[in-house]
């Protein structure tokens, strides 16, 4: 079974977060900004699995760190093994893992709580679609 992904003409991202309320608000925010949600995963294992299955692959992955079964850094490492070009935007309350995450190959690390503006900006930067300054 493959995950249905939106067409490439639009920016697509994946959300990996075990906090369902957060997933909801991210979905709303990204959708509002015209960013497609490729898939949502609630733990690291699920994220890796869905990343493998997803065609086409998301332009960026918004990744939490502390999740059940497999943490965000391990999931990021696995995904980067599959696709070294994957852009992973870490968003975690565990500032202590920032260095480890960056070392693992994260594109950027944002500390929770971060404003939506900052999150969207980081994702756009990761996919190379940073809007021109107003």
């Amino acid at each position: 079974m493959t995950t249905e992904c939106p067409p490439l003409c639009r920016v697509g991202i994946a959300i990996v977060e075990d906090e369902k309320d957060l997933v909801k608000v991210y979905e709303k925010a990204f959708t509002k900004k015209g960013i497609q949600i490729c898939f949502i995963a609630y733990d690291g294992i699920e994220a890796v699995k869905k990343y493998i299955e997803c065609t086409p692959r998301p332009h960026a992955i918004l990744m939490d760190y502390r999740m059940p079964i497999m943490n965000g850094i391990d999931a990021a490492k696995e995904i980067l093994k599959i696709d070294a070009e994957a852009k992973i935007v870490f968003l975690s309350a565990d500032i202590s893992v920032k260095d480890e995450a960056m070392k693992a190959g994260a594109f950027i690390f944002l500390k929770k709580p971060a404003g939506l503006k900052d999150i969207i900006y980081a994702v756009q930067k990761a996919v190379g679609k940073v809007p021109a300054p107003a």
Binding site: E19, D21, L22, V25, Y26, K28, A29, K32, R66, L91, A93, D94, I95, K112, P113, A114, G115, L116, K117, I119
Partner: protein, 748 residues
Amino acid sequence: MEKIVSRSKGAEPAKRSGKKHFGKLSECDQLLDLAPVLVRDPHSRIILWTSGDEKLYGYTRKEAISQVSHDLFKTNFPISREAVDKSLQEKGSWQGELTHTTKDGHQITVASRQVLYTEDGHHIAILEVNHDITELKQAENALRESEANLVRAQQITHLGNWSWDLKDDKIICSDEFYRIFTLDKQEYLTFEQFLDTLHQDDRERVNQAIETAIHDRQPYSIDYRITPSDGSERLIHAEGEVHYSRTGKPQRFFGTVQDITSKRQADRALAEYTTKLQEQARIIDLAHVMIRNMQSQIILWTGGDEILYGYPKEEALGKVTHDLFKTIFPISKEAVDESLEKTGRWQGELTHTAKDGHKVVVASHQVLYKEHSKPVAILEVNNDITERKQAEEMLRRQAALIDLSPDGIFVRQYDGTITFWSHGAESLYGWTKKETVGKKSFELLKKVFPQPIKEINQQLLKTHFWSGEVVETAKDGRKIIVQSRWMAELDEEGNIREVMESNVDVTGRKQIENRLREAKNQAELYLDIMGHDINNLNQVALANLDLIKDDENLTADQREALTNSLNSVRGSAAIIDNVRKIQAITHEKLAMHREDIDEMIQGCIVEAPKPAEYAVKINYTPRKGCMIMGTALMKEVFCNIINNSIKHAGKDVTIDIQLDETLRAGKKFYEVSIADSGPGIPDELKPKLFARFQRGDTKAHGKGLGLFIVKSLVETAGGNVTIEDRVPGDYTQGTRFIVSLPASEGYR
């Protein structure tokens, strides 16, 4: 000339014949009369007696003629008389040594030659020529005795002699020579054979000495070793001299050898004994020995006394001891004298005063000497024990101090046997001194060590010290944890003799530590919950508020409420951030890195809040290469101060940042001055700003931990932070923070 033939009765034919023959003889030669010649008839009766005989035996012719010769001379024959006669009859002659007795009783030895005369087949006379060889025999005996004596003397003195015929290379050696060299006696030795007897290492030297003696006419005197066949090694002293021919050619080398092994050993022993005697004499002179007469006047004063008391002999002799030393007796002087008188001795400790006035404590042993039962003198041996007494006093004081200590101090032998038990130990464990001394500490206290006792003992042997936490059991069965410090005393062979243990009860402290550890773990758990779970919730709130904020239909009141909610969420996150930073600074050993101040300041300027309500102007001239050592949180120092200046301004504000280099006590420091034109801080608040959980009088969100974090971070980096009015004396003109940090090259 008298007739030398006498007539005798009987044996007529022989008599006649002998008379006829020897009558002729007597007429022959006058000189014959002087010779010791006698003629006897076949019955041994003397028929001719010469003047020579008279002189030899003392008998006149009248006394000798007709006497039976062997009766007259009491002849001792070397063989039987019959054998002599038989020889005369068969061979016609006999010769041998006879012992005769002269008229005056002397025994003489004669070399007797006897010839039998016959006529017409009849034995008619026997001619005896008896040469006195008494002196020769005596000389021979003397020589024999002398030789025997020489042999004995050589044996006694271990002195052998040798004579070396240089031409034929024959060394004739005495018996003693062979004995010394443990060689079988032989006719002679060759030089090669002689050299073979020598110790291998001495051969060349001996050979050289002999060469020198022969060719340079130098005296030959040398010691060398021989290695006899019995495996021993003996030391020989040899002397000799060379005899030369008239033409100067060396002919014979004479010499002696003497076994000086024992002598050398004896010499060595004697030298050692002499040294010991000298040493003893020196020690006696150094000893604090004195003799006083019965009036207590000093009559013997040694070098040791001089050293001890400082008085030279001339000053001490004749002085009364107790006056000179200002003696302090442990009992009365009379009691000391009485003891000496009754028992002949006294011993005890005396305190004397030396010449320079210092007190000397001596252990005095006094012995009374008597002559013909009358006391004549007292010998005193006074050993200086001043230092020992001082040490004892110090030990006594130390023991008293140890007893004062609340720590459980005890001394035990290596096997655990307790020899000292302090009052502190009594309090700690509950056992009294009486109950513990002699007991084994390990069993008594049921010690449980943090490591094997073998390892502890190894450390004690190596460093004489061990420290660790030990679980022990007190008398009432309580388990106690002690911080135990052991100090070992080793004996001369490096083995542990005694161990002093000082034990401090840390049971309570350990319980508190455990509680603290639990509390810390709990705090970390709470912090983790705050840091993660609450911030996750904050994230939900913040994201939702952000979404609502974009709604253009919001009223002014709704927007204000939304802004306040957003600020609250951010404030909540900031509190969590600060608490985590404090936790990191105070409880985690953060690694120190080289950090560039300029980069940090520029980063803070970029990230500085930009309030919509008022303008912020930051003036800063970058300065590269200002490196310090700090933790990863160091940037917080500058960001916190800058952000505070902005947040607390409440109106347009200008912030001037200046980075300078300065020297403090010869060390390079960087000084960052951050001055704002904000509302300023009153003097009474300034000292409280850096205190933990202290809030200043601000209008901003109440977090209150920022400056405490600043101070902690700066101090961790070895610097300091101060606050002052931007315009001295007028706090309303703004505030200046000055952060001083040591340059990384001088950082320790």
